[in-house]
């Protein structure tokens, strides 16, 4: 290594990171040459916890993987279990879940644009966006009862129905949100100081985005039309017309625009779904024991593609539960974006992928113990864990 090169650690505690994660930046002057990520500061043992709880209890555990995309995680989990049961949930439940998923996307996206505005020091936009996000939060509160952990999705359907009164109010709010978002989109693409900080910052070329398996809005901002809702439709997404939003800027600005456009698209989806809701029951009874088998389910969470893997052995508890949060898919991409950028741009680039590092951490790996590489079997992992506890 040259003497000129300095390594700057960003994190695990850093004002730009709301959650612990470490990036080692190799820098030359103000330029970042390379970024090396270090995960594992917030391992919460959720996968282990899931295997000692029943399928019903795991609904609430899955919801608590992430506070912002809680609906997406619980939807992914419930969808997997329902696949194991080989059941189809009632059409009305599908629509209600879809509306909830889109409301979830709305508030997550508005939150992210607000955070991005704060990272570039535009607190006024941050305040406005969060104020308008409150409308969505109130809507969610109206439908589900609570604000963050909704406890709404059940195995075999949803807990409550959307009444016509609620539907009317949601439709009214959606119009407000859409109008406001259209204004913010126009403003953000005209305001010089925002353009200065976001245009050409954190470039991720389409071929890199594909090669590094980026997902969600990050991928779509690199002009690649990929959306799980379109590619592998779940719920009632194949019955509802919607556009997969893309932008060709490949930078933070186009990520912002993609988020705005998806908010507008989501309000349209919600209005369409409310108008075309089938009648009927919204919930079916489900047995407590789930047939043996394994399943991978995926949904388009607000932050990208969320993948859950569930292995059942025929009892009422899953044998193995694995979660891949969308942020994990975007970490290689963010390292690519960081290389060749300026240090002052690091916060906004990091924020640019809408990171949620705490949702991401699954296994903490301790090097060199078993003399093996990065792949451990479950048995080895179990033995290692037992030995670690005995030695403690």
């Amino acid at each position: 290594m040259d003497e000129e090169r300095v390594i700057i650690p960003i994190g695990p505690q850093h004002p730009a990171l709301k959650e612990p994660m470490n990036f080692m930046l190799k820098v030359e002057g103000e330029k970042v040459l390379e970024a090396i990520p270090n995960l594992g500061y917030n391992h919460r043992g959720i996968e282990k916890a899931a295997t000692v709880r029943t399928y019903i209890q795991n609904l609430y555990l899955a919801e608590r993987i992430c506070g912002i995309c809680s609906i997406a995680h619980v939807q992914c989990y419930a969808q997997g279990v329902e696949k194991l049961l080989e059941m189809e949930i009632p059409p009305r439940a599908q629509y209600v879940r879809l509306i909830l998923s889109e409301l979830n996307r709305l508030h997550s996206h508005l939150l992210w644009v607000g955070v991005a505005a704060h990272e570039i020091g535009f607190d006024t936009l941050f305040m406005y966006l969060w104020r308008d996000r409150e409308i969505v939060m109130d809507t969610l509160e109206l439908i589900t009862g609570n604000r963050v952990s909704y406890g709404f999705t059940m195995l075999g359907g949803v807990r409550r129905d959307i009444s016509p009164d609620m539907a009317a109010r949601v439709k009214k709010e959606m119009k407000t949100v859409r109008d406001r978002t259209q204004y913010y989109k126009k403003m953000s693409s005209n305001e010089r100081s925002i353009l200065k900080r976001t245009q050409g910052v954190g470039i991720l070329k389409p071929q890199d985005a594909l090669a590094l398996c980026a997902c969600g809005p990050t991928l779509r901002a690199s002009n690649i039309k990929w959306d799980v809702r379109r590619e592998d439709p779940y719920l009632a997404y194949n019955e509802i017309p919607f556009n997969v939003v893309t932008s060709d800027g490949c930078d933070v600005l186009s990520r912002m625009i993609v988020h705005y456009d998806e908010v507008i698209e989501a309000t349209n989806i919600i209005e369409y779904a409310l108008d075309h809701m089938p009648s009927g029951s919204f919930r079916e009874k489900v047995t407590r024991r789930i047939p043996a088998g394994e399943v991978v389910s995926r949904v388009e969470a607000p932050r990208g593609e969320d993948i859950h893997y569930i292995k059942s052995n025929g009892t009422d508890k899953p044998e193995r539960f694995k979660v891949r949060a969308p942020t994990l898919g975007n970490i290689p991409a963010v390292c690519k974006m960081l290389s060749d950028s300026y240090i002052a741009d690091v916060p906004i680039i990091l924020a640019g992928i809408d990171p949620c590092f705490s949702c991401t951490d699954r296994v903490t790996f301790v090097k060199g113990e078993m003399g093996k590489g990065w792949i451990w079997t479950q048995e080895e992992l179990r033995r290692y864990a037992n030995r670690w506890y005995q030695q403690r």
Binding site: Y128, L142, G145, N146, R160, E191
Partner: protein
């Protein structure tokens, strides 16, 4: 400067902040707050205890004679017990201001009337 007009418009608008502890907004009807158990209807099946993800409900005694103890400090208000209860004796009130300095105050005992 793209936002100047919006700024001045907001100057005349009503402030969005809520003066929460001083002026309280009515919670939505479906809010899950402190839970209430109607012991007259309870059949003592123990499903709520079995399904509670947080282990917040404890059963003292057995069968139809059992009393229930709820630890609100463990409860995360998911509402599964109300869903699981076959006799629908658990309801959630909209009382949500439950912060307390002492764990003891957050333990509620529901006793059967003799």
């Amino acid at each position: 400067m793209a936002m100047e007009h919006e700024l001045l418009r907001n100057l005349r608008k009503k402030v969005a902040t809520e003066k929460y502890p001083f002026i309280k907004k009515k919670p939505p009807e479906g809010l899950r707050g402190k839970l209430i158990i109607d012991m007259a209807k309870c059949i003592g099946c123990g499903l709520c205890v079995f399904d509670c993800p947080a282990g917040a409900i404890e059963m003292i005694g057995k069968g139809t004679a059992a009393d229930l103890k709820v630890y609100l400090d463990r409860c995360h208000f998911c509402g599964q017990c109300a869903e699981s209860c076959p006799s629908k004796c658990i309801v959630y009130s909209t009382e949500f201001e439950l912060a307390n300095f002492d764990k003891k105050n957050l333990t509620i005992e529901f006793k059967r009337k003799l």
